[in-house]
């Protein structure tokens, strides 16, 4: 932390326009929701500026003006949009009060180095605002669907009941639909069959390929590498079209000549197609890990009489495991999220979860999709947390520092 910088009160010519700009930004959002963005900016800026002037010139008491600010914005919020808006309003009131004093007292310089120029200070905070905005834009679309999945209506709509926090506006029926509806259950099961098998295939083949390609004596290894990771680069729809025709012939041969059942062949086709899509991720992550792998270890193992297979499983594999696991995770997510290839290659018996969500979105905008999305978000977070915890644990056990 930087040295404590002495602070001083700032002139009104700096404080009021800055506060007005912040007020205008909030006014823009409220105004757009109520059909006039421009009016919102003007009113928001005016209200906030007036309040800031009131705190500084008339009240001169930070504690008291804080509560007044919260109350005023709470009332404004309630007037505009009921209880939820009142809560947001109270937060906004607290924020604007804090912001006004932060500017007025010059507290924004407190934690910065004393010799920074004003433009450096501006950039310091501007940078943080930009980062915050990026975070908000990344995460809001995910958060928005979660309350909607508890909607008691069959539409993607925040109903007035939901906004009033009326329990009648909420329901678990879309979750019930997911757990009882055959179509959703079958596609969920299909995803759970296809994704792990495809992952195992991609991880095995991808790891072997990465190890092979990292040997310096392999001829044309750059060209081979380029071909192997091409499924990641070629637009998916083109791979999918090609795969459709390629796997159709393979499927016909397996059904006709080998006499396998249509259903089983369908799964084989989708699993193989997904494995192909997952292999590039495994190759790339494992190759990256292999860069840090000391080759003299394999020679040492060979020197002690271990055959290559033992060397691989006992020496090399444990060391490159983090790369293999993260490659496997990518391969799993690729298959679990994939909709284009399965639409082409699969038939309806292999309908996966993303496929079901896709047709669901197009044909029957049903919040069951949002319930599924919420469940998947929770599963993904749990999965990543578990993997990370396991990784740290194994590193602790092996006496390495986490990193």
């Amino acid at each position: 932390m930087a040295a404590l910088t002495p602070i001083s009160r700032k002139p009104m010519s700096l404080v009021l326009p800055t506060v007005a700009a912040a007020g205008g930004l909030l006014g823009l959002f409220v105004g757009t929701a109520n059909d006039s963005g421009f009016l919102g900016i003007v009113i928001g800026a005016a209200i906030v500026t007036a309040l800031a002037a009131l705190y500084i010139f008339a009240l001169k008491n930070e504690q008291m003006s804080k509560w007044i600010s919260i109350l005023i914005f709470l009332a404004l919020g309630f007037f505009v949009g009921g209880i939820p808006a009142a809560i947001l309003g109270a937060l906004a009131g607290w924020f604007f009060h804090w912001f006004t004093y932060w500017m007025y007292e010059g507290r924004y310089r407190q934690r910065l180095l004393p010799y920074l120029t004003p433009s450096q200070v501006l950039w310091h905070y501007g940078f943080r605002v930009i980062c915050g905005a990026i975070f908000v834009f990344l995460i809001t679309p995910i958060l928005v669907v979660i309350p909607l999945s508890f909607n008691s209506q069959d539409f993607f709509t925040y109903t007035p009941e939901m906004l009033r926090f009326d329990p009648a506006g909420y329901s678990l029926k879309h979750y019930q639909d997911f757990f009882t509806n055959n179509e959703w259950q079958r596609s969920f099961k299909n995803s759970l069959i296809i994704a792990p098998i495809a992952t195992v295939i991609s991880v095995s083949l991808g790891t072997l390929a990465a190890i092979g390609l990292s040997q310096s004596h392999v001829p044309g290894r750059r060209a081979i590498m380029a071909i192997m990771i091409s499924p990641m680069i070629v637009p998916l729809i083109i791979s999918a079209t090609g795969m459709f025709f390629f796997y159709s012939s393979i499927g016909n041969w397996m059904e006709g000549t080998l006499g396998l059942s249509k259903n089983f062949v369908g799964y084989v086709k989708v699993v193989l197609a997904h494995a192909v899509l997952g292999i590039p991720f495994v190759i790339i992550t494992v190759t990256a890990t292999l860069v840090g792998f000391d080759r003299s270890l394999t020679r040492a193992a060979a020197n002690m009489g271990a055959n290559p297979v033992t060397t691989f499983f006992r020496v090399q594999m444990p060391l490159i495991l983090p790369g293999v696991i993260s490659g496997g995770l990518f391969a799993f997510i690729t298959s679990f999220d994939e909709v284009v290839v399965v639409l082409f290659v699969g038939s309806a018996s292999q309908k996966t979860l993303p496929w079901q969500m896709f047709t669901g979105l197009r044909e029957q905008i049903s919040p069951t999709i949002l319930a599924v999305a919420t469940i998947l978000v929770v599963i993904s977070i749990a999965l990543l947390t578990t993997v990370e915890l396991l990784r740290r644990r194994s590193e602790r056990l092996r006496g390495m520092s986490p990193g």
Binding site: T157, K262, E363
Partner: protein
């Protein structure tokens, strides 16, 4: 060695086991409430009767393209496909659908009338087995139209009396006809006018007056969602979707039946099925298109059955218990001013008008 044997055993079991699963059929349809109505009226009773597992594939929207690709790859995975009549005509012309003989492949009416007579004029193609009569019509938000509810389709073009967004399908069909009617063209002359380049420009000029207020939809579920959001004041979609919004979801929406456009939807069987699968598909069709089954579907969705003999059997909604007849597009009260989709006209002019329409949209 033991390990290898075990693996071999496991692999063999995995290969053989799926073959033992009971017979399956893939039926392609439109999804949503429509697939649900078919499941309740046709699929479930058929499965109970025959033991066949039915898999729903909601891909009817791209049925023509996918059937072409499947046929080229020699890998047709669909057994029965639900398509609109226009698609059935195209598929039949291209040889992608099997020809149906109504006398031997479809069940006669209970009173002995042959299937050909029972379906009558609705058998618009040799490959097509009609299932329902549906209409594309408008629904409006009752709380957004003010004191005078719209009674004419021309309310769509009247942004002064009914301000707000409206939704129209992102294709020329129906929109061009409505535009001409509201531009003063007599209903009987619409297709004559639309056949001329001037007439097409006239229709686009009329649509141009509301272009800024239109949200274009491409899936049948879009308009119901937009109406429920209150994002539009009125919008076109299939009448069954509006029924579901009004009666099942209890949204403040009402029907504007004026100038509704009738169209047909029904089954085709893809060409190139193995004999065994063809027999299965025909068995299903024989069952699912008999008089009682078509009437049963109307218990679940407000589309009119295509057989004349099914109409008197239409009863109450299976869950809501309301009479379904007043919600049918063919009900005399709703059918005071209707329009029959002109297959021949659109078969001849579709490519031309589509091109013009898309160019106009992009402007």
């Amino acid at each position: 060695m033991k390990f290898t044997k075990l693996t071999a055993l496991a692999v063999t079991t995995a290969l053989v086991a799926p073959a033992a699963i009971a017979q399956e059929m893939t039926i392609v349809s439109w999804g949503g409430a429509y697939t649900k109505s078919q499941k309740n009226a046709y699929h479930d009773p058929y499965s109970a009767k025959s033991g066949v597992t039915i898999i729903n594939d909601d891909s009817s929207a791209e049925a023509v393209a996918k059937l072409r690709a499947m046929n080229e790859a020699g890998n047709v995975t669909w057994d029965v496909v639900d398509v609109v009549a226009a698609d059935a005509i195209r598929l039949c012309d291209e040889g992608l659908a099997m020809e149906i003989d109504p006398d031997t492949m479809l069940a006669p009416a209970p009173d002995g009338t042959s299937a050909a007579d029972d379906f009558g004029d609705l058998l618009v193609s040799d490959c097509f087995i009609p299932q329902i009569v549906y209409s594309t019509t408008f629904g409006y938000r009752t709380d957004l139209v003010g004191d005078t509810a719209p009674t004419s389709v021309c309310a769509v073009f009247d942004t002064d009396a009914y301000p707000g967004k409206r939704s129209l399908e992102k294709r020329p069909i129906n929109n061009m006809e409505w535009a001409l009617i509201c531009d003063g063209v007599a209903k009987d002359d619409v297709y004559d006018v639309l056949a001329t380049p001037e007439g097409q420009d006239k229709a686009l000029a009329k649509l141009d007056t509301i272009k800024d207020d239109v949200i274009w939809w491409s899936a049948g579920a879009d308009t119901p969602q937009l109406l429920a959001d209150g994002e539009i004041v009125m919008g076109s979609t299939y009448n069954g979707r509006l029924f579901s919004v009004i009666e099942e979801q209890k949204q403040p929406v009402a029907m504007l039946w004026d100038a509704q456009v009738f169209d047909l939807d029904g089954w085709i069987i893809p060409a190139g099925l193995s004999d065994e699968r063809k027999k299965q598909a025909l068995d299903y069709i024989m069952f699912a298109t008999d008089t009682q089954r078509l009437a049963d579907q109307a218990k679940w969705i407000s589309y009119g059955p295509a057989r004349a003999s099914s109409a008197p059997l239409v009863g109450k909604h299976a869950e809501l218990g309301i009479d379904m007849a007043p919600h049918m597009p063919t009900d005399p009260n709703n059918a005071q001013n209707t329009f029959l989709y002109n297959y021949e006209f659109w078969a001849d002019y579709r490519d031309d008008i589509d091109g013009k329409f898309q160019a106009w949209l992009a402007k």
